[in-house]
Every structure is written in structure tokens, then in C-alpha cells.
């Protein structure tokens, strides 16, 4: 049930937000239960925990490899499909080639289409 909720929420919610949605269908679910299940789901790799701002863990039901873009103006978070994967990039970096890369976490910061001019 909680897994379904996280999967249906596309806005990278935190535990509190998931709890609010969960209460709509399970009116007396407790926050502790939400936390516990989120942790279990994360351990089973069915959801991802992500850290953007300090002290706030967010959850992401999309487990396929993807990146994020955070608009520094409106604070919205966008999902980005990686085109040439960072693993390829890693393979061209001598420092990284000596290590075994299993996964990576990449977040861009900048201005989204609505908030800023198109420019790199």
C-alpha cells in the first residue's frame, strides 16, 4: 500500500507527505508505520531514499537509473533521463577507472524553463 503511494507520487515526497496521503485511505495509520515501511522498502530497493536539503529525506518510487534537476528559483525537482550515462563518463576519468563504480547520484542545480533563460 505504501509502496503504491510512493510510486504514484511523482514529486519526491518526504515521510510526512506520504503519511498524509496514506491517511486518506488508511485513516488511522501511524507515522511510525509509514517510516518503518519506507525503510523496509528502501532496504528491498523498491524505493530510493534521496537527500536534497539537510535533514530531510525524500523518497522516490522510480528506481530506474535517473538524475535530478533542482530549480534554485522555484525549488521544483525534475527527473532527468541520463543520455550518455555517467558510467561512460566515469570510464574516461582515470581517477574513477581505478575504482569499482556500482552506482552514482547526480543532481543538477540551475533554473528551469519557467524561471530562467535557456543557456548553458
Amino acid at each position: 500500500m505504501i509502496l503504491e503511494i510512493v510510486r504514484s507520487m511523482k514529486n519526491h515526497p518526504n515521510a510526512e507527505e506520504i503519511y498524509e496521503i496514506a491517511r486518506l485511505t488508511m485513516p488511522n495509520v501511524s507515522l511510525g508505520t509509514v517510516y518503518r515501511n519506507l525503510k523496509l522498502l528502501a532496504e528491498e530497493k523498491k524505493i530510493k531514499e534521496i537527500q536534497f536539503e539537510p535533514g530531510k529525506t525524500r523518497f522516490d518510487g522510480m528506481t530506474s537509473e535517473h538524475e535530478h534537476f533542482i530549480c534554485t528559483h522555484c525549488n521544483r525537482i525534475f527527473d532527468i533521463t541520463p543520455t550518455p550515462t555517467v558510467k561512460y563518463l566515469a570510464s574516461t576519468n582515470p581517477e574513477v577507472r581505478e575504482l569499482t563504480v556500482q552506482s552514482y547520484f547526480l543532481t543538477y542545480y540551475g533554473l528551469c524553463k519557467e524561471c530562467g533563460p535557456h543557456r548553458i
Copy 2:
């Protein structure tokens, strides 16, 4: 003073660790002062706040563009010099090209030289 301490610590310390070092030279500095100055320094962009594990903010005195590698076995954090910059990579990604990228944050997870075989 706190800026010097953060710059001298290469291990991405958290506030508590910085506090411990600060007390060596300023025995009655308070933890609140350390937190306040770290926040000020971060606002002035003289240090960077980084989030690896949930609920723990670490600080980095190296403000030049660089990436991190975290060994999933020994949990050590390594600094990585970006070779082809991710900005270049971003420019090849149509999704990202429509946005204004100001900065990025990239962390690799995997096994370091001591903990795992060399393999990509």
C-alpha cells in the same frame, strides 16, 4: 578560525567533528557558535554543505568543482577531480539543454582500491 579548521580537515567532517577540533584551540567555544559560523560560511560560499547519509550534514572546505566517491564497503569518501566536466555531459542531454545548469553534485558509489577488484 572555523574556516581554517574546515579547510584543514580533508575528511568531510560534520559539525560535531569540527567542534571537537575547534575546542583544541578555543576550549570554551560552543557548539551553537560552530553551527552558526558553518552556516554563515556556507552562505558566503566559502565552504560547501554536503549530504551523504540521512540527517547528517558534512562540510567541505574545498569549494572548487569536484566530485565524490563513497566506498560502500569501508564508507570512506574520496575526492574526485572531474575530467570531462559534467557540464559538457549535460550539454549533450537534450532534456538538460533546455534548462540553465548552474552547478551539479555528483557522487559515485562503489568499491575503492582496497575494498574491491578493479572493474567497471
